[in-house]
Symmetry: D2
């Protein structure tokens, strides 16, 4: 197979990380980078003298020597850039969140399908060792039924100008939730608050319901004194604590829980709940850089003509939940159906 010739749009904060990892990925080359800012183009030229540079992304998209486009620009530009690339017959990898609305996502999905092109979203977290281990534990049934998913992602963060704290921080946790709890979320409610006369909420709480007994909840906050990156996953058999700030033991699996000793339906209100406390273990995690695996997955899913792990459908589900959360915030926290 020939190397996949990649063009990257956007060489700001995240773009250079993508370039570095696509250069390491097998069967891929980074041939071109587009950025409107001259200083960013110079930054790339200094480090990678052989990469062709474009001030205008459209020009790079039109280049027949490019097979695939990686888009790392502000979310408002995702749809037009990706649509242009797909229309030009290029495979596309989009930064998270995928688009500014689910309608935009749908549009891209339709074009990609029609043209038989790969459309993937860079939900990086799904490729790190901790989250892959959690997925394995859930999918193998070791954890039992997932009863709840509780995530806290807070610190003294940069106040964004264009999006609120949910669109900034929650896509990470929503993509993890999506991989673990499945695609059947039914409704969303959210409350948020902005401070200092800022237009965008800088603290928000969001709940995602799944119809049955499962529940997911998210706390995101740009105005917290300490950094917390903590996810609790309650399973009917075991429970997981995922603390991303821990240097080595990011995942702890607790053989703790509740045992129901009466199954007599008539005695349902007298159910005997017993508590079970067992060992805890922190499995060794694969330390491969997640973004390298993102690059590898993009290349391989194109080659194998298969859906990538973080496909456009999952990207759309995350955007749909954020969209519903915005609506719920406007309605003062009323639940919004998905």
């Amino acid at each position: 197979m020939n190397k996949l010739r990649i063009g990257v749009i956007g060489a700001g904060y995240w773009g250079p990380n993508l370039i570095r990892n696509f250069l390491l990925a097998p069967n891929a080359s980074v041939d071109a980078v587009a950025d409107a800012q001259e200083s960013r183009r110079k930054f790339i030229a200094d480090r990678y003298p052989t990469i062709r540079l474009f001030a205008d992304a459209k020009e790079m998209i039109a280049d027949p020597q490019i097979d695939a486009v990686v888009i790392a620009t502000p979310v408002s530009t995702h749809h037009p850039l990706a649509k242009a690339a797909l229309t030009a017959g290029k495979h596309v990898l989009l930064e998270k969140p995928m688009c500014a609305s689910s309608a935009e996502c749908d549009d891209l999905i339709a074009v990609a399908k029609q043209r038989g092109l790969t459309l993937m979203v860079d939900h990086t977290f799904l490729y790190n060792g901790a989250v892959r281990k959690i997925r394995d534990l859930v999918q193998s049934g070791e954890i039992g039924d997932v009863l709840y998913f509780d995530s806290v992602r807070v610190n003294l963060g940069l106040f964004q100008h264009d999006v609120n704290v949910l669109w900034d921080l929650a896509p990470h946790d929503l993509s993890i939730m999506d991989a673990i709890m499945g695609p059947n979320a039914t409704s969303v409610s959210a409350v948020g608050q902005s401070h200092f006369n800022r237009p965008q909420a800088n603290i928000a709480y969001m709940t995602v319901s799944f119809g049955g007994s499962a529940l997911a909840h998210f706390h995101v906050n740009w105005l917290a004194p300490v950094k917390v990156r903590m996810t609790l996953i309650g399973g009917s058999k075991q429970m997981i604590v995922y603390d991303d700030t821990e240097p080595s033991e990011k995942i702890k699996i607790y053989d703790k829980g509740v045992t129901i000793t009466s199954n007599n339906v008539e005695e349902i209100h007298k159910t005997l709940v017993q508590y079970r406390t067992g060992d805890m273990r922190a499995p060794r995690l694969d330390g491969t850089e997640a973004l390298y695996l993102v690059a590898k997955e993009f290349v391989e899913s194109i080659r194998d003509k298969r859906q990538p792990l973080t496909d456009a459908a999952s990207g759309r589900r995350v955007v749909a939940i954020l969209e519903a959360a915005d609506q719920s915030m406007k309605l003062g926290g009323q639940p919004v159906k998905l």
Copy 2:
């Protein structure tokens, strides 16, 4: 002044702690204890041979040798027992939550007022050194405006039969919130979930709004693998982390935050947000047992004919929020006005 002669109703889990502390409090004596269970009366008799014991609380309430009644029984019995005691002319200290409904609270408040009796709620947390320090920091203005109050109280807890996890765990945090953010909460929304075919929610999230820009949020959970007792308080000047599981440094005050450098109203969307990172300090806390100070406050507020720190009005506010939360949970999370 003669010693306040106290009768305690309920010698189960909490009652003995109350007895022990009222025996230590100045100007008080524990003269009688009522409990329907013989084993609990024997437990008290073995330890305190001079305390008179009653199987029937009504009898003890009727005793003219008793000045004040302390009620540590299930919440459904609070109203009838407290009403009987007040009607018999006794001062009353009620365990939290004060009653099963705000209507019950109102009824007791009216009787107490009419008879000129003290009616106090045992919101124990407000008397511990950490919460008193937080109150001081907020009231002195050191923290600035309180922007948010975020509380997490989770662990593998006993599934209660009569109340859900909010009524069990949240009164602690609501009483702290009430003391810090003031009495002007405007609406409540809550979602919860029960598992294992149990009738009562064992995990719940609750948001309390205050009209303006302040927000309070609560996560309570009987089904968590680890014990978390963490409160974040975001102030416009400083921020507090209160971790009740820390053995010695329960409160950390961060001189961290955001500075707004433009106050130009027209440039509101261009506000310059700057981040400020300063020292952290963990003040020494008074280690006096909180329940001893509860006992002392009850005795002194009766003597001085003044409202106690945790008066019936605050107890009622906590119950009103729990009541609204139950309603919101039934409505799938819709906000309910207070």
Copy 3:
């Protein structure tokens, strides 16, 4: 079997804990308590009205209604009291450290042997769930050879008047070391320092050698700002961290270590060291109160006419090491042979 009738000497800080646990132990009764201080005798009388009280321990020792004596007095009195009890035909449980010198220990051991009596030392730590688990892990061979034992026990502690910090704090860790590394320590070196013109060292470091490649080291300190109770145990297969201040996960077992890939003796200087990093696990620990198990072991070892787990020989080994450490401190840290 008739109940073992126990007399306790010393009702100060630790005595009441012993009384409480011997009252719970099967086949034992606490019949008498001796304490020279009237206030302590009153303390016992208030709680246990049926226990006979003695101001003079000698009188209690002479009482034919007593089968066994438990001694919880300052270490300087251990030898005379225990010798009197053994001579009077009573079994003896001694608080740690066993005696003020190894010669005193030898004398008691000889008398106990001659009279066929049980002589046991209360090395409580060996009965707690964490240390029992560590012992099991070492004895089962799971850990491999023990390469080192490193213990830190520091905090802002009471400055003792009669003993230095080693005699106060190190017996705990020495008894654990003895159970894990075996009885073949060969030499001891120690340095210590006193401050504030106090006669006794308030900080000390001690090393115990075992001839071969194993090493044990101890840091004890009454003048530390934080409480640390941490033991590292390096094994050739696995390593253990025992943190006694952790509320729930006191023991962590790391499947980490070093693998030697060349065994060629001639290439010894080229040995290839490889690092192995595996899972960590925190086993569930038995939460039974250690002192209850001490009481049970004392009663059962008397009944079964067998050596107790913490026998006089182990008590003597701990004292011999402390004695050598004192000598080494006087010699400025020179190693002293055992």
Copy 4:
């Protein structure tokens, strides 16, 4: 002033960090790099195409276009390289430890003095924000007299071939100790142990005495399951905990300690010790990269013709202690005078 033209010897692990920081430092340029390995020269050429490269360090030292030489090679080569550079009239910055013996240090110091050249040691830790803050606290008298210095630096580390664990890890802590406790150490004792038939000790404990009542102790270990970087500093007024693994609050200052209430010399044995517990604070620390400040100090001390903060005399003191520790280890832990 003209730019100081620097040549770096050794482009292995640490050399590139030195190059990067000297390139940022004011009034300095990195003109040349010498490394015997071609792959390392290529590594530098790819990143810094304008730097001249030498396979032979001697050649670079002889180059009249070079004003100062930075040496980042194994310790056994420090003396010959530095001597050649000084003899050629170049200022020298040496990696830690300064040399393989104090005699080698003396020789370099003599040559530097004779030629009027700057000779500095890269004790990087003395330039990081945490250690600078500790120095300030000690020098301002806030901490009071330093009573002890206790350092633990352990983890699963690379077994070195040429030096033992003390020479590898302890120079960091010895340089901090030297800055805080002053240059008057009087004797050293150390014990160590090698495992897996390795020639060099992989675990070691070292004590440094200061004649008076101050004591310093070091635990270094390549075979520990967890990473610990903890220093306790006990002062007569306040105490410091320095935990270098903490992401943000590396230094905690405890207003805790002991108060002596009797100064009556005759009552020395009855001294009343009282415990004082006050606030804890974690000061904000300057986050400037320490190695940048090392580079700046080297350049400025040459320009100002003054001794650098980490001068050759301090480098020699660290080496002399390591030398004495090796001797003490050979003597089984006997203290060795400095």
